[in-house]
Symmetry: C2
Subunit: 345 residues, 2 copies
DNA sequence: TCTATTTTTGCAAACGATTGCAATTTGTGA
DNA sequence: TCACAAATTGCAATCGTTTGCAAAAATAGA
């Protein structure tokens, strides 16, 4: 053996480390052991029992690396979170994290493992190709398009098993699951206006297409109803949000009586700033958020918001991906958001 | 070839799929290609350039499965989140999710991938052995001991590369990183009493050892100061918390003027219930939370709380794990929490 | 008892990359 | 120009499991 000294230090003679070791102990061939442990039916019941017993006694489990190399599939789904402009945003973003939790549940249930990778596209040109080409994953779920829409489109043509959480654009080529942000925006604006608001503002970053769509929906309704609306750019990183909102509020003062926040997080910060300035909600200013995070129900007053069904989203992502894994070229899935009326409107 | 029909359908002749394909195109041996791509110095600069060029042109990346099998290491760290009693809790638990985010950052930076697995110990006896023995990970980080303390202890003896986020017990055998919960509890109680509270209550589940330690710390201080303290068991799943807290508040009524909440999430829910009952905070009742989540700064009034340094925790977990990967039997790391005084005390 | 089947097993070739050693090429100095 | 050292490259074994095919064993049928 040419690399004998590289060998693992743990060479306890009794130790069963490979399927061949086990085969020797059981007095059969490695092939038989493999078949027995993989639940394959081509093996005598008694032989299987014996093998399983030995495996259990020695706590043996077949090496997954080897298995996966041979079978040419990994049983792992890669989940990528691209951190676009606002690097610090998503890390604490409850929405994404909750989605991730549900994804983990769904995938586990279907027998897949989840490999998480956070990428900073600005520092890593071909993060997506790298992830896909690594041979470590059977398929990829991308959480959030961020500012990577085009790169994702490029990849989508040549790589089927990929599904993306995000906004759906007419004619796009990659398969996406996400809420109908435009509709959500409409619902929000309609509610604000119906509650008596006469001048609206959208609080949030309109760069990411999800948010852009929310704003677009709201604007459509506002224009139809003859109500003015403006966008007030606001970052979503917790440390900057508050100050930016405060500045906005000072500037707009009493000119706005209906606020549509891009996310609940922004809405909560806004609520607080309004209270600091002794503005009554909803009497003087009405607010609608987006997401319906748990916190939305804990604010004072409780927040009216547009709910995204996160669990359904996760399920959709996984279902579509699994179908794509079998070769289906699936359509995108757009989920309807729902208005949850509480007490800020 | 015995399994020629099993071969990948994508057998475009020009396609470079393996290191051998690339070797053929470049007119060298596979070994040389491997060395060139792995940045190994034993290869002529010109040859390397040529190989790298071809690789780039064809978007070729070495198969990780094969590489890792051969090198006997995976470059993947497993992160397990055991979901104990309160299954639905952690999924949305901002604290754990934020920790996960930081972990992903730290690991990525050190060149490791992160494999996430959520386990329900009640349904899966030997989840930890399975994870470790899968051959898919070089090491394991367990987020939260939940009710699995003993199982983790069992495994720790035979498996070095494991680090756990949680509470440190005198004499335990597994390596843990976590806040000094007892000290945190003391800080909270001291602050409540210093602010004038004369009768304390701990709101939270005292089963998990982290929370038990927080309560124990608070009780130690309370007893020393001659202030009564009681524990009011409260679940941490968002849907149940509110109602349980409401019930508690009705029961204790005016008998308690200082509340120590097991987490900020509970504190926020509590704040809201108090407001519903028109109890003034901090005038009538003082509150201290735990964690210092972003939300703590957004409540009305802003929440006084005990901060856990999540980023430092993640860094500690990764650093210790990497040292263990090299064979070090590292000590546990206990981080000091800090009292953040805002306006609820 | 002796074929003809059906079940079980063993054999050995993959999967694709890495790496010690040996062979080859290149470069150096006399 | 030649001997010798250094730098490159090729060869082939190896990581541990899976699986098509063939051989062996068990069972059935006559």
């Amino acid at each position: 053996m040419s690399e004998s000294e590289t060998q693992s230090p743990d060479k306890t003679p009794g130790r069963i480390r490979t399927i061949t070791d086990l085969a020797k102990v059981a007095g059969v061939s490695p092939g038989t052991v493999s078949r027995a442990l993989s639940g394959n039916s081509l093996v005598n019941a008694k032989t299987r029992e014996k093998i399983e017993l030995i495996a259990r006694e020695h706590g043996f489990r077949p090496n997954q690396m080897a298995s996966r190399l041979r079978r040419q599939k990994t049983g792992v789904i890669g989940v990528a979170i691209p951190l676009g402009h606002d690097v610090r945003q998503q890390i604490s973003d409850t929405f994404f994290m909750t989605l991730l939790g549900y994804l983990a549940d769904e995938l586990t249930e279907k027998g897949y493992d989840l490999m998480l990778r956070r990428v900073i596209p600005a520092q890593d040109e071909d993060w997506l190709d790298r992830f896909i080409g690594s041979g470590m994953v059977d398929g990829v779920i991308v959480i959030g398009q961020s500012d990577q829409f085009d790169r994702i489109e490029d990849v989508a043509d040549g790589y089927l098993p990929m599904v993306v959480w995000g906004n759906h654009q007419e004619g796009q080529r990659h398969c996406v699951v996400g809420s109908d942000n435009r509709l959500g925006g409409k619902l929000a604006a309609e509610k604000l206006i119906a509650s008596g608001a006469t001048s609206l503002a959208f609080l949030g970053d309109t760069q990411p297409i999800e948010f852009a769509a929310r704003f677009a929906g709201a604007r459509e309704v506002a224009e139809k109803m003859g109500v003015p609306i403006r966008a007030l750019p606001t970052h979503l990183s917790p440390d900057r949000t508050s100050k930016e909102i405060a500045d906005h509020l000072i500037r707009i003062d009493a000119n706005v009586d209906g606020i549509f926040a891009a996310t609940d997080t922004v809405a909560v910060a806004c609520l607080k700033e309004l209270r600091n300035r002794d503005v009554e909600v909803p009497e003087q200013v009405k607010i609608v958020g987006f997401d319906d995070l748990p916190i939305a129900n804990q604010t004072v007053p409780p927040l009216t918001t547009v709910r995204q069904d996160i669990a359904a989203g996760a399920k959709g992502l996984v279902d579509l991906l699994l179908r794509r894994l079998t070769g289906d070229d699936t359509e995108s899935l757009v989920l309807p958001p729902h208005l949850i009326v509480r007490e800020t409107t």
